[in-house]
Symmetry: C5
C-alpha cells in the first residue's frame, strides 16, 4: 500500500495534534445528525456544532453521527464542545490510521475500517470509521456519503426493545457489529471468486489466471491486515476495565470477537486454497512443457532413423548392390514402416502416447 | 470454505440475538428427549417444551437432548423455560459457529463440531453440537438425525456406576469425549488414504494423484481448523473456575485435552507426510522430463552425424574418389556402425543408458 | 502415524477409565519385580500383586517394576492395591499415549517413550514407559521384554552411595535419565546415516537417495514429536510444586531437561542438514538435465549446418558449377571442417565444453 | 550488514566503558547548542561543555543538542558534567548500536536510527541518534551535519503552546516523532520504486530486474530490522514506570507507537508484494523457456517428416516407379503441403499457435 | 552435528555426576593460575589444588583460572576444595554441553562457547568455557591452550580502576564480554566471505559456489545455535535475583545482552543474504538452460527448412522443371538466404538474439 502512507509523509515534521485531513474528501460539507433516545421516546434531528453541548445534557443515550471528516473546522469545534483530546481528533481525520482502541478515561475511542471490494480492479477500498463512547454518548465519524449505520438507526427508531433499553455501550457494540458483518459479505464474495478461479486453473494455464490468483492473494492479505488489529481491538475492549462498559455488554463483545476470529479463519482458509491453486497452476505449466517435449522427442525419434536410412540409399557410391535389387525400394519402405511401428510401440509402452 | 459464511452474510444488519437458523434443516420437527437419573434410578421420557421447567426441579441429573436446531420456535421456548441468554441461543442455531466455551455464570456453554468424512468427495461435513451445563442439568443440541450420543445414553441406562454417581459435569465431559473420539476415527481413515496414496505417488505420476494429495491436504487443514479451537476450548474448561465443575472432573478434562492434542499431532504428521508425497510427485514429474530429454538427445546424437555422413556421399560432385572405391559403400557403413557404437558407449559411460 | 491411532479409534464410545490394552502384547504374563532399599540394605524379590500392600509399608524406597502392561487383570489389581486413579491405569495400558506428567496429589504420574531405531526399515519403534512416583515408592511399567532399567538396578544393588541415599524421587529421576540417554544413542546413529547420505548425494542422484533422505526426515520428525512433549514434561516436573519432589532433586531435573534440549537441537540441526541435502539433490537433477540439453544442442548445432551443406550439393540442378570444380569436393569438406571447428570454439568460449 | 560489525570487532578485548568512536567522523568539531525555554520565554545559545552545569540549573526545560559524536573528549566532559553513566556514553559514540531504551534511574536513555535511502545504490544509510531524558533536560546526540530536529526547534521558538507548556518528556517525544516520521517518507519512496518495478516484471524478464527486486527486498529487511526494535523501544517507554515521564505524555507515546506499527505493516505489505513480483518473474522465465521449446517443437515436427519424404525420393534405387510418374513431383509436393497443413492444424488445436 | 553427541552417548547408563571428560584432550596437564586482587594490590601465582582453600580465604577478589578440563582428578579435587556440586563439575568437563546459567545458591554457574572459525574447512570449532561465580571468587575453566582471557588479566594487572574496584561479579561479566566479543570477529569474517561469494554467484554458476553457499549457511546456523542460548543465558542473568550479583552490574549485563542480540541480528541478516544468493544461483542455472535451449532452437529453426528445400531438389523425379532452369540453382540459394534472413529477423524481434 505505497499510497496509503504518502500523505502522512507530507505531514512529517508538523506538530502532532495539528489537525490535517489525510485522505480524499468525498463530501462537500460535514453533516451532523443527532439521535437522542431512551426506552420511552426517540428524537432525531440535524444539528449544528453549537447545539451539541446542550444535546449532551439530555437524559438517555445520544448518538451523534458525523459524516465528512474532511471538514476540519467542524471536527475541531465538535472536539472542543465535547472535550475530546487533540490526538483523538487527529486520528479521526487521518483516514489512513490503523484500527485501534484507546482509553482516554472519560472516553473510549475506537478506530475501524469498513472494507469495500472493487471487483473490477480486484482491490479493496477501506473506509475509515471512528467511534467515541462517552457517558450516555456515542459519536460516530464517517468519511463517505455511504450510510452503513442506517440499519441500526432504523432499529432504534422502530423501537426494538433491547437497543432502546441497553445504553450507549450497546449502541457502540451494535455499530462495531455492523462493521464486522461487512467482512462476512466480503469473505463470501471472495469465496465466489475462488470457486470460479478453480475452474480456470484446472483448464488451460494462462498468465491472466496467475495474475488473478496473485491479486486475490493480495486482497486476502489486505483483508487480514485490516481484521487482525480489529480482533485485537475487540479483544482489548472485552478486557477493558472501563466504567463506560457495563457488565451486560460482555457477552456481546465476546460475540463480535468470535465473528472477527471466524473471518480471520475463513480468510486463512482462502489463502491456503490460493496456495493450492498456485501449485496446481505451476504443475499445469510444467506439465505442458513436458507434453511439448514429448511431442518433439517422439517426432524426432521416429523420423531421424528413417531419414538416415533414406540418406544411405541416397548416397552415390558406385557399388551399392541393394540399389539394383528388384524389391529394394519396397523392402526399404517396409523396413522403415516396421521401424516406425516399433518406435510407436516403444512410446506406447512408456505411456508417452 | 466460502459457503460457510454465505448465510451469515445474509444475516448481516439484523439485530444480534434475533434467532435465525444458519445451515441446512435436516429434520422435520425438533425432538426433545429427557433423561433424568441419579445413582438409584433412571427415567427416560420424550417431553414437550412445557414440561421442561417441571423436569428441571427433579433431584439428580437431568439431560435434555434436543434434536433439530432449525426449529426456532422450540429453541426459543426452551431458552425461555430454562433462562438461557439470547446470544447463547443464537450460537445454538447458527450451525456455522466456531467451537468455543463461554461462561454465562449460571451456565457453561460449549460449542463443538462432529466431523463426518465424505470419502467420495474427499471433503469433511461438520455437524454442529452445543452443550449447556447448568446445575444438575445438561442440555445437548444436535442438528441432525444421527445419534452420536446414544452410547452414553446406553451407559447411563445400563447403570454404569461412575456416570450415575458423578453428576452433570461428568455427563458433559462424557459427551465431549464422544465428539473427540470421532476425530480418532477420522484420523484413522485419513491415515489409510495416505497409505494408498503412497503407492500411487511412487508409481506413474498422474494429475489425479496430485489433485488427491491437494484435497487430502485441505481435509487435514479443515480437521486442524476444527480441533485447534476445540483444544483451546477444553484447555479453557480445565482452567475454568466455575462452580459447575467439581474437582473430581479435573483428571477427565485433562484426559480429553490430551486426546485432542494427540489428534492434532497425528494430523500434523499427516501433513508432513503429504508434503513429502508432493515433493516426491514433483520429483517424478521432473524425472520424467529428464528421461524424455535423454531419449531425444541419444537419438539425435547418434543419427545426426550418421545422416551427415550419408549426406556427404549423396553429394553430386564430379570428383569424389570414395564413390568409386570398390569397398566404399561397406566401408562407409562400417564407419557409421563404429560411430554409433562409440556414441552408445559414451552414453553408457555417462549412465544415460 | 496412521496406525498409531487405529486401536484408540476402536475404543471410541467406551466408558473412559475402562481398561483396554492398546498396542501389541509382547510378553505372556506380567512380571512384577520389587526392589526395596535404603542406605544400609537392599532386597530384591519377585512379588505377586497380593504382596504389594505389605511391601509398601516397609521403610526406605520401594521400586515396583511391572513388565507386561497388556495383563489388564494384574494392572487392575495393582492399581487397587496402591490406590491409583482409573485414568492413570488407562494411560499405563494405552501404549500409544503421548508423553506427559500428571499430578494426582498423592502420586506423580509420568509417561515416556523409549525410541528404538529400526535401521532396515528406517523407522522408529516407540516403547511405552510409565512411572508412578509416590511417597517412598516408584512404580515403573514397561510393555516389552527388554530391560532398559537394568543399569539402574545394578547401581542400586552395587550400593552406589548417592542413589541409595537420595530417595524415591531420585530413583524416578534416574529412570527418566535412562530414557533420555537412549535418545543420544539414536541421534548418534542418525548422524552416522546422515554422513553416509552426504556421499550419495554428492555422487550420482538416484531415486533411492531421495527416498532415503525423505525417510530420514520423517524419522527426525518422529523423534522430535517424541522429545518435544518430553522436554515439556520435564520442564513441568522442575516447576512442579509437589511434596513428592525434594529440593535436592532440582539440579538433577534441570540436568535431564538440558539433555532433552540438547537432543532437540541436534535433531533440528539434522533436519537443516537434510534440507541442504535435498536442495543439493535437486540441484544435481537440474544440473543433469542441463548437461543433457547441452550435449543435444552441441551435436545439433554442429551437424545441422553441415548436413545442410551436404544437402545443397546433393541437389540435382543441371547447372551447379561447383560440382564440376576440380577441388569442389575437398573444398566443401574443408569448409565443413572449418565450420565445425568454429562451432567447437564458440561452445568452448561459452564454457559449454 | 557485514561492515556494521567490523569496527566493533576491532574494539574486542578493550575494557567496556572505554570510549571509542565506532563509525565515520563526518564533522570536524562537536558543536553544542542549548535551547532553554519555558511557557514565557525561550533562549538559544551555543555553549561550551563548561557552561553545561550552570545551564542545567535554570528553571524550565533545557535542550542540549550535540552534533558530532566522534569528538570523544567533548562527549566525555559532557558526560562528567551531567553525571551520565560510562556505558551510556559508550552507546552514544558507538554509532552502530541497536535501537534501545535504557532506564538509568536519573536518566532515560534512548537510541534511535534515522534511515536515509540511497536511491542510486539501493541501500539504506542509517544515522545514529541518541537521546537522554533527565529532569527538565533533554540531551540529543547526532553524528552528522544534517539537521533533522530543526522543525522541532522552530516550533519551540515560534512559541507553539503545547510544546512550550509540556515539559522535557514532551520534547523527547517530539524528537522521537521526527525520527518515526522519516520512516514514512522512506516507505513512500520504496512504494514508488515497487510500482515502477511492477511494470518491468510484467514486461520482458531481465537479470537487472531480478537484482533490483532482491535489492529492494534487502532494503525492506534492513528497514524492518531498524523499526522492530524501535517499536519495542517505544512500547517499553509506554510501560516504563519512570518519574521522568508524566502522565500527560501517555497518549503521545501510544501515538508514536501506532505510527511505528503502521510502518512495520506497510513494510511487510511491501515484502509480500516483492515476493509476488519474484514469483511472477520466475513465471515469466519459465514461460519463456516453454515458448522457446514450442517453437523448436513446431519447426521440427513440421520439417522432419517433410525432409524424410524428400529423402525417400532422393534414394537411388533402380526401380522406384513414382519417380517416373508424370505428376510424381507435384503430387509429392502436394502431399508435403497437406502434411504441413495438418501439422499446423494439430498445433492450432493444441493451442500452441 | 552428529559427532557432538557421540561421546555423550557412550556415557549413557552411567550414574549422573560421575565425571567423564567428553571431548578432545588438548593439554597434557591441567594448569591452575590464581589472581588475587583488590583496589590496592594484585598478586598472581600458579597454584596447586591444595592451596585453593587457603587462597579463597583472602580478602578481595580471587580469580582461579583452570586450563585443561580433561584432567579429571584435578577438577574433582578442586570441586571438593571449593564445595562445587557434582553436576556442576560434570558440565565443566563435558565440553559438548550447551550454554546455560544455573544458580546453585552459593554459586552461579555459566557455560559458554568460544567459536573458532576454520576457514579452510568452512566449519566452526567450539571451545567450551565454564565460569563459576562465588562470593569474592571467580573460577574459569578452559579446555585449550589458547588464552582468550589474557586481555582481562592484563587489565587487572595494569590496575585499571573499574575492574579493580568492582568485585567478582564484574570480573565474571568481563570474561563473558570477552566471549561475546569473539562473536563479533566471527561475524565480521563471515561477512567478508559473503562479499566474496557475491561475485562468484553473479559470475558463472558452479557447483563449488553452491556447496560454499550451503556450507556458509550451516556455519551461520551453528553460530546461531550457539548464541541463541547465550542470549537467553545472559537474559536470565540480568533477571537473576542472586546475592552474588550487585546492583552495579545491571547495566553491564544489559550491555552484553545487547551485544548478543546484535550478533544474532547480524547473523540473521547474513542468512537472508545467503538465501538471496541461493535464489540468484538457481536463477543463473535456469537462465543457462534457457540460453542453451535458445541456441538449439535458433539453429534448428534456421537449418531445418533449408535442409528440407535442399532435400526437395535432391529428389530424383524425372520431371522436375526447376532443375532444368538456367538460374534454378542460384535462385534456390537466394530463396534459402532470404528464408534464413527472415528467421534471424524473427528471432531478433523476439529478442532471442
Amino acid at each position: 500500500m505505497p499510497e496509503s502512507v504518502s500523505s502522512i509523509a507530507e505531514k512529517a515534521g508538523l506538530s502532532p495534534g495539528v489537525l490535517m485531513h489525510v485522505g480524499e474528501a468525498r463530501l462537500e460539507n460535514a453533516r451532523i445528525e443527532v439521535l437522542s433516545y431512551d426506552q420511552e421516546k426517540c428524537r432525531q434531528l440535524e444539528a449544528g456544532v453549537e447545539d451539541l453541548d446542550r444535546l449532551r445534557q439530555e437524559p438517555g443515550t445520544t448518538w451523534i453521527e458525523v459524516q465528512g471528516v474532511h471538514d476540519l473546522e467542524v471536527i475541531q469545534q465538535l472536539g472542543k464542545a465535547l472535550g475530546l483530546h487533540p490526538l483523538l481528533l487527529e486520528d479521526v481525520v487521518n483516514t489512513e490510521h490503523r484500527p485501534k482502541v484507546e482509553d482516554y478515561g472519560e472516553f473510549l475511542f475506537v478506530v475501524l475500517k469498513i472494507l469495500h471490494f472493487n471487483r473490477e480492479e480486484m482491490s479493496i477500498e477501506p473506509e475509515h470509521v471512528s467511534l467515541v463512547l462517552g457517558d450516555g454518548l456515542v459519536v460516530s465519524f464517517l468519511e463517505a456519503d455511504r450510510h452503513p449505520f442506517d440499519p441500526v438507526k432504523k432499529r432504534i427508531m422502530a423501537g426494538r426493545r433491547r437497543i432502546r433499553r441497553l445504553g450507549a455501550d450497546y449502541l457502540a457494540y451494535a455499530l462495531v457489529d455492523v462493521v464486522v458483518d461487512t467482512y462476512f459479505r466480503l469473505i463470501e464474495e471472495l469465496g465466489g471468486l475462488l470457486e470460479s478461479a478453480e475452474d480456470r486453473v484446472l483448464a488451460e494455464p494462462q498468465k491472466e489466471t496467475l495474475l488473478m490468483l496473485h491479486r486475490l492473494k493480495q486482497v486476502e492479505l489486505t483483508l487480514r491486515a485490516a481484521i487482525l488489529p480489529l480482533r485485537e481491538v475487540i479483544g482489548n475492549l472485552t478486557r477493558e476495565d472501563s466504567d463506560l462498559l457495563s457488565e451486560a455488554i460482555g457477552p456481546f463483545l465476546r460475540d463480535v470477537h468470535d465473528h472477527a476470529a471466524h473471518v480471520i479463519e475463513a480468510s486463512e482458509a482462502h489463502r491456503e486454497t490460493l496456495n493450492t491453486f498456485l501449485e496446481l497452476y505451476h504443475h499445469a505449466v510444467n506439465n505442458r512443457l513436458s507434453e511439448v517435449m514429448k511431442v518433439l522427442t517422439i517426432v524426432a525419434t521416429i523420423f531421424m532413423p528413417l531419414t538416415f536410412i533414406a540418406g544411405i540409399y541416397g548416397m552415390n557410391f558406385k557399388r551399392m548392390p541393394e540399389l539394383d535389387w528388384y524389391f529394394g525400394y519396397p523392402l526399404t519402405l517396409g523396413v522403415m514402416l516396421l521401424l516406425a511401428l516399433a518406435m510407436v510401440l516403444f512410446f506406447h509402452r512408456k505411456r508417452w502416447l
